[in-house]
């Protein structure tokens, strides 16, 4: 049986140079996504794992269920549709259930043996979350007040999804800024922050007090948790907690970051980093 690796909130298995990654949850006997995951977030996690094992994945071919812009911002990997003239040497195969396979060869038989037990999702919870996402994703779901527009989201996508900071003298700046006090433009984000940080404060906001972007899902989740963290290199940030209902933070906890869905509006999913505890 392949070794099952817990990775960024997912389960992963290697078969030589091929990788299968799947959700750790099940629903009615089938593998199912958690409350803020989809094929895009899992593809990003898989690419992070491949990179950490020394594989170079500059491009891969996939079907349209994966958001190519988000993958590019988070990993630097180009996602091709398969119709382009230049083909990639990696392929991303999307399973019917919440599984993905990264493979170089489409000819070779792959043999993955996944985990025998998965965490069962509550059926009512899963249905409510799915309904909320469906409503959020409608093009008619619009804001009547403050929200992050597509332009604003895309402007910060590389820094947000890649945790890329600006370098200025000895210090790193994150999230990115425009001009400094001398009126000089600060260079574009290029320095990756270490993907772990320490919790300095946290809160759980009741559903009624949540921003409108979370109005449909916050009641299902029983509120939303946010952590205020400090990275080892200095910058601080605030992040939602991934798989929110499973972790209650404490000051001093170490957390790492995984890409998850943040919210959707007018048909566009905004992805971003969420915090996940580092198991001691």
């Amino acid at each position: 049986m392949s070794e099952v690796i817990q990775w960024q909130g997912y389960l992963a298995m290697f078969d030589q140079d091929a990788l299968m990654i799947q959700s750790p949850f099940s629903l009615d006997g089938a593998i199912a996504f958690g409350s803020d995951s989809d094929y895009t977030t899992m593809a990003i996690a898989g690419l992070h794992l491949l990179t950490s094992r020394g594989f170079q994945v500059t491009s891969l071919t996939s079907i349209a269920l994966v958001n190519a812009d988000a993958v590019k911002s988070a990993t630097g990997t180009e996602v091709l549709s398969g119709e382009e003239e230049h083909q990639s040497d990696w392929n991303l195969l999307v399973g019917e259930e919440a599984t993905l396979v990264f493979t170089k060869s489409l000819e070779r038989d792959l043999a993955f043996h996944g985990p025998s037990e998965l965490e069962a999702l509550d059926a009512l919870f899963a249905a409510d979350i799915a309904a909320a996402w469906e409503a959020e994703l409608k093009s008619t779901h619009v804001s009547q007040g403050a929200y992050v527009s597509e332009a604003a989201y895309l402007e910060g996508a590389n820094a947000r999804l890649g945790l890329l900071a600006q370098s200025k003298g000895e210090s790193l700046i994150w999230p990115p800024r425009q001009l400094d006090a001398e009126g000089e433009r600060i260079a574009a984000p290029s320095q990756p922050l270490l993907a772990s940080a320490t919790v300095e404060s946290w809160t759980k906001l009741s559903a009624a007090g949540a921003p409108s972007e979370f109005a449909l899902r916050a009641p299902v989740l029983g509120g939303i948790q946010t952590v205020f963290v400090r990275f080892e290199q200095g910058p601080c940030g605030v992040f939602l907690v991934a798989d929110d209902e499973q972790y209650e933070p404490e000051i001093g906890d170490s957390v790492s970051f995984v890409v998850r869905r943040i919210y959707a509006q007018e048909g566009l999913i905004r992805y971003g980093m969420k915090a996940i505890p580092i198991q001691s």
Binding site: S143, Q144, G145, A146, Y147, V148, A152, Y153, G156, P175, E200, S201, W202, T203, K204, L205, S206, A208, G209, A210, P211, S212, E213, F214, A215, I224, Q225, T226, F228, P235, C236, G237, V238, F239, L240, I251, I262, Y263, R270, G272
Partner: protein, 390 residues
């Protein structure tokens, strides 16, 4: 340089006001005009500065033109001032500067917000609009969450506790109980405030200000025209202002508000006073932790000692070192965003003139300040008022 006096001030009752923007502003202006000792007519006003966040709509553009048109001041230079919850604190500062510069002799500064005519659904869209939309809002934060992060960190760094916040809530409800203009005129027991519904852990319902409608207005005059209007002016001795990073995570500390420190330092220096000279302070307690931190940032308590200050009841009317929020503050009097700053000035004006309800009059008050904060501390205006000119 010209000195500036407050010659009149008035406001609506805060809460669920039956009128719209025009009616509320007219009511506040009418009270302000009537509070001037000599006959006063709106045509005497040279210029107007009106703070508003424009929460929810109503009249988004050219608000000040509409409101002055409906209060007998059409034709004068006007503008809306927006700095989140500090909008009218900055309107007051702008009005003060207009007189100091010699451009105007009589100016009105005010503020207004209509927050309760929205459906619950629509109101949600306006929660936290003055925080960092791109980074804080996408981390699920509105202001209860932002201030909750500050509170938990303050507890961790300085040993303050939620009971210290409860003391602030109980005090402000006690102060506001006698205030006829207050939104929530209800005393709250320590036990009840201690066990409120959790809004943003560790902040409960009793740590959060209400959502209020309201308008307020203050009339300022240059020293060379003051005697035309009153023999009993309150002097606006100084105005200080500051700003900080919009997002909490960009600031050097989340348990101090640098904008408050800058604003109060500048205002005290210009007025020639120290924090120890202040008799009463209208402090921006949108959340109880905001008042706790402000007592430190304004110099009433040492850094980290805001919890002790609250525990020892040092901000209680006619009992402590200085009366913090004699009006009941935002917690009890209410928080109609754009109206709050000049509403604080209305309270200080009346306290220094001895014209509030007798039960809540501060004895022998000579110097009062207002402290008006935008959002989680990105902007702040502090004003020093005195019975004496300097």
């Amino acid at each position: 340089m010209v000195d500036v006096a407050v010659i009149g001030a008035g406001q609506t009752k805060y809460g669920n006001h039956p009128s719209g923007l025009k009616g509320m502003w007219a009511e506040a202006a009418e009270h302000a005009f009537a509070s001037v000792d000599q006959d006063f007519e709106p045509r005497l006003v040279d210029e107007a500065f009106i703070g508003s966040v424009a929460f929810g709509g109503g009249q988004l553009g050219n608000t000040a033109a509409l409101l002055t048109e409906h209060s007998g001041m059409e034709g004068i230079p006007v503008r809306r001032v927006e700095n989140a919850c500090a909008s009218s604190g900055f309107a007051l500062r702008d009005a003060w500067m207009a007189i100091k510069s010699g451009q105007a002799d009589v100016v009105i500064a005010g503020g207004i917000e209509k927050m309760n005519d929205l459906s619950a659904e629509r109101r949600r869209y306006w929660l936290g609009v003055s925080g960092d939309t791109e980074w804080e809002r996408l981390a699920g934060l509105t202001f209860p969450g932002t201030y909750a992060l500050m509170a938990r960190r303050h507890f961790h760094e300085h040993g303050s506790t939620h009971d210290d916040l409860v003391n602030i809530s109980v005090k402000n409800h006690m102060h506001g109980f006698e205030n006829e203009m207050a939104h929530i005129r209800k005393q709250v027991s320590f036990e009840k405030a201690q066990s409120g519904f959790m809004v943003a852990d560790p902040l409960t319902l009793y740590d959060c200000c209400p959502t209020s409608d309201g308008a307020s207005a203050v009339i300022l005059a240059a020293d060379h025209v003051v005697r035309q209007f009153t023999d009993d002016p309150v002097w606006l001795r100084s105005s200080g202002a500051g700003s900080d990073f919009l997002a909490l995570h960009d600031r050097p500390s989340i348990t101090q508000v640098r904008a408050t420190q800058q604003a109060s330092s500048a205002a005290y220096k210009a007025a020639g006073i120290t924090a120890g000279d202040v008799d009463l302070a209208e402090v921006h307690d949108c959340f109880t932790i905001a008042e706790l931190m402000a007592t430190e940032d304004l110099g009433f308590a040492q850094t980290g000692e805001g919890g002790v200050f609250a525990r020892e009841q040092r901000g209680v009317r006619n009992q402590g070192d200085v009366c913090i929020n004699p009006s009941g503050g935002l917690k009890s009097k209410g928080h109609p965003l754009g109206a709050t700053g000049t509403g604080q000035a209305v309270e200080v004006f009346k306290q220094l003139r001895g014209s509030v309800e007798s039960a809540r009059q501060i004895r022998d008050a000579e110097i009062g300040i207002t402290h008006n904060v935008g959002g989680s501390g990105a902007t702040c205006a502090v004003h020093v008022f005195g019975r004496d000119r300097a």
